[in-house]
């Protein structure tokens, strides 16, 4: 179920229908926004970023310290910038994140993003990854050697 390609959703808009276990809406919004700065893919809509935040929320339902850990991290980030996150330029956001790069908060956000964002099969077509192949006969007849910019006489 791939979403429409090329749809751009404003940063502040997140799903209103999804019921979060633990994370409050303001925190969800800022985490999505932080993720867009940490891992910018300009043509990928917010819902894919929110997918990762929902995974964090699923974990927060089982780990009662996690929600507080995330909100404390966001608060620390905001207090060192002195300005509301939404009011910061992209450059200022990057600088703010660089200053907390070594914290457990940042490392946690990063590792969960790498874990959940790119393993979501719905996002693979956007990166040109075709994924499972065995049930389609592998890539034997689907381009395993179709590279056309290397001349075979160069081999």
């Amino acid at each position: 179920m791939n979403p429409p390609v090329g749809v751009t959703v404003p940063v502040s808009v997140v799903s209103q229908v999804y019921k979060y276990h633990r994370l409050p809406p303001g925190l969800v919004e800022q985490l999505v926004s932080i993720y867009r700065t940490m891992f910018p893919h300009s043509t990928v809509p917010d819902e894919f970023y929110e997918h990762v935040v929902r995974k964090l929320d699923d974990k927060a339902a089982l780990d009662q310290d996690l929600s507080g850990f995330l909100s404390d991290g966001v608060e620390a980030l905001n207090s060192q910038t002195g300005t509301a996150w939404t009011g910061l330029s992209e450059e200022a956001r990057i600088h703010a994140l660089q200053r907390v790069e070594q914290t457990a908060f940042f490392q946690r956000l990063r590792s969960d993003f790498v874990l959940y964002f790119y393993s979501n099969p719905a996002i693979w077509p956007r990166f040109g990854y075709e994924g499972p192949s065995n049930d389609q006969g592998g890539y034997l007849h689907r381009g395993f050697n179709d590279i056309d910019w290397i001349k075979r006489e160069d081999l």
Binding site: M38, F127, G138, L140, R142, F144
Partner: protein, 527 residues
């Protein structure tokens, strides 16, 4: 029909582990009419259940029990509780391997003589030579259907290999091909030819790749002489006062303990679990653990020099289509005294799916693991090629597997700690290999090179090594322990040195050879 042996049946040969070493040994013994029982810690997951998805497959096949790490290696920081990427299933790590099947080179068997003193290294010569092993390499290649040997055609090159081969030719390398692979290029041995599925590491769904799960184990079971008992986690090997082992104590998945008697015990749990079991079998008679009069059990842990080079091009590659590692440059495998390191290495194609590539690149040597620069590389996924570097690393006595002093696993057995420091030779070789790998890709127009450091080890070697003298190692050239005549080491733990080659073919050759020896010894001594 598969056998079912009684726990009190002390006539069986008992093998711990069902991978390249244990699975092969089990079948070889069964074919000779020897009653053989394999205890495997993991579940039996047949190939139809394997999944074309990196994360799901990882969860399905991997040994995830907690381990700890120490030492200056990067793993202690990057993945402190996951030092080795090996499997916990029937078939062991042959369910998750690329298929590269290379013979060790003659000079590697005499490493101490050829390399001389290498500061800090605990080098030793193998107690056997290439010539002694060659007939068994022949048998192993026939068994596994290795391409490029015995008249078996090479695999067709995939996109990733076409890029590497073009670069190799431009920089003047002469020995680049799809390599010697235990993946069928044509239907053979009841298994089909490759369909270039791209999931060599995620099980054996297509059945083209050799694994003990789809070959040795069912063949052994068909003799009626082999039982493979899954989800049996061996805790201790037991012995009597006469310096003979008598069987094992194991736990099933619920944690119930059982004893199984045996006439011979062969340990093939991979190079972390094998010494762990021997060390955990310490008794009043053997306070330092079984077969450990040398003090070398768990020591000389090797993991190969490794690393990877990724290249971005301005035109599509689509590396993920095709066999994961069917590409090999052999030119750097030789020992060349004019280089700043001893031993040699290979470059082998490697692709990862999007998810694992991103995770791998999160720890790289060339750019931050987040931010615009990083995501631009991800967006170039279709335009990337990749190679793995694998070479000989130095045995060091201080690189070792030990029992954790306090932490225990779900069965109450101390978890293993893996201590490792890179040897200066490993670092020099890796730096050389990074440069050469980048040259290969630059020669065909790479716009960006990203180097990644070694990940959790797939090749774990040397922790119960073969030695001519009992004081230098744990077992003799048959894998028979110096201290206990009916206790054998049957996996990569017995490697005296790592050699530069991917170890599976050598493990299989040693297992076939060991089966001959055990059968011979049983006829002579153990009746």
């Amino acid at each position: 029909m598969p056998r079912k042996f009684d726990p009190d049946d002390g006539s069986v040969v008992l093998i711990i582990g069902s991978g390249a070493g244990g699975g092969t040994l089990g079948n070889e013994l069964a074919q000779k009419g020897i009653r053989t029982l394999i205890l495997e810690a993991g579940p039996r997951i047949e190939r139809e259940q394997h999944v074309d998805d990196e994360r799901q497959s990882f969860a399905q096949l991997t040994w995830l029990d907690k381990r700890t790490t120490s030492g200056s290696w990067r793993i202690a920081k990057d993945s402190p509780n996951f030092p080795a990427n090996v499997c916990k299933v029937v078939g062991g790590t042959t369910v998750h391997w690329g298929g590269c099947s290379l013979r060790a080179q003659e000079h590697e068997f005499g490493a101490k003589d050829v390399y001389g003193d290498n500061a800090g290294a605990n080098l030793s010569n193998w107690p056997l030579t290439l010539a002694e092993l060659e007939p068994y390499y022949d048998k192993a290649e026939e068994k596994m259907g290795v391409t490029g040997t015995h008249g078996i055609p090479l695999l067709d090159a995939d996109n990733n290999q076409i890029v590497m081969a073009a670069g190799a030719k431009k920089v003047g390398y002469k020995e680049c091909s799809t390599g010697n692979m235990a993946i069928n290029s044509r239907p053979r041995d009841g298994r089909p030819a490759t369909i270039q599925d791209g999931f060599c590491f995620q099980g054996i769904r297509s059945n083209a790749k050799w694994s003990t799960l789809n070959t040795e184990i069912p063949k052994g079971e068909a003799t009626g002489n082999l039982e493979v008992r899954p989800e049996c986690h061996v805790l201790k090997i037991e012995h009597d006062k006469s310096a003979k082992v008598t069987g094992v104590l194991y736990a099933d998945k619920q944690g119930n303990h059982y004893q199984q008697r045996a006439r011979i015990v062969c340990v093939a749990g991979n190079s972390i679990e094998t010494p762990r079991i021997l060390l955990n079998s310490a008794s009043n008679q053997y306070p330092e653990g079984l077969a450990n009069s040398s003090g070398q059990v768990g020591r000389n842990y090797m993991r190969h020099m490794s690393g990877a080079v990724w290249a971005v091009f301005d035109k599509p590659v689509r590396m993920y289509r095709g066999n994961t590692m069917a590409g090999c440059i052999k030119d750097e495998r030789y020992h060349r005294p004019d280089r700043e390191f001893v031993g040699g290495y290979y470059m082998q194609t490697l692709h990862l799916g999007l998810s694992f590539l991103v995770a791998r690149l999160a720890n790289n040597l060339d750019l931050a693991g987040w931010g615009r620069e990083y995501t631009r590389i991800m967006e170039a996924y279709e335009y990337m090629a990749g190679m793995w570097l694998v070479g000989e690393d130095m045995p060091q006595e201080t690189n070792c597997v030990t029992l954790h002093p306090t932490e225990k696993d779900q069965f109450g057995m101390p978890i293993p700690n893996v201590h490792f420091d890179d040897h200066v030779n490993d670092i020099a070789m890796r730096n050389h290999a990074y440069k050469r790998g980048a040259m290969v890709y630059d020669a065909v127009g790479a716009t960006r090179i990203i180097r990644t450091p070694p990940g959790p080890s797939a090749h774990n070697l040397g922790t119960c090594r073969q030695s001519a003298r009992p004081e230098d190692g744990v077992c003799n050239k048959w894998g028979q322990t110096h201290d206990i005549e009916n206790l054998f080491i049957s996996d990569g733990s017995q490697f005296t040195t790592s050699t530069a080659e991917n170890p599976t073919l050598t493990i299989v050759a040693l297992a076939i050879r060991q089966a001959d020896y055990i059968a011979d010894q049983m006829a002579k001594h153990f009746e």
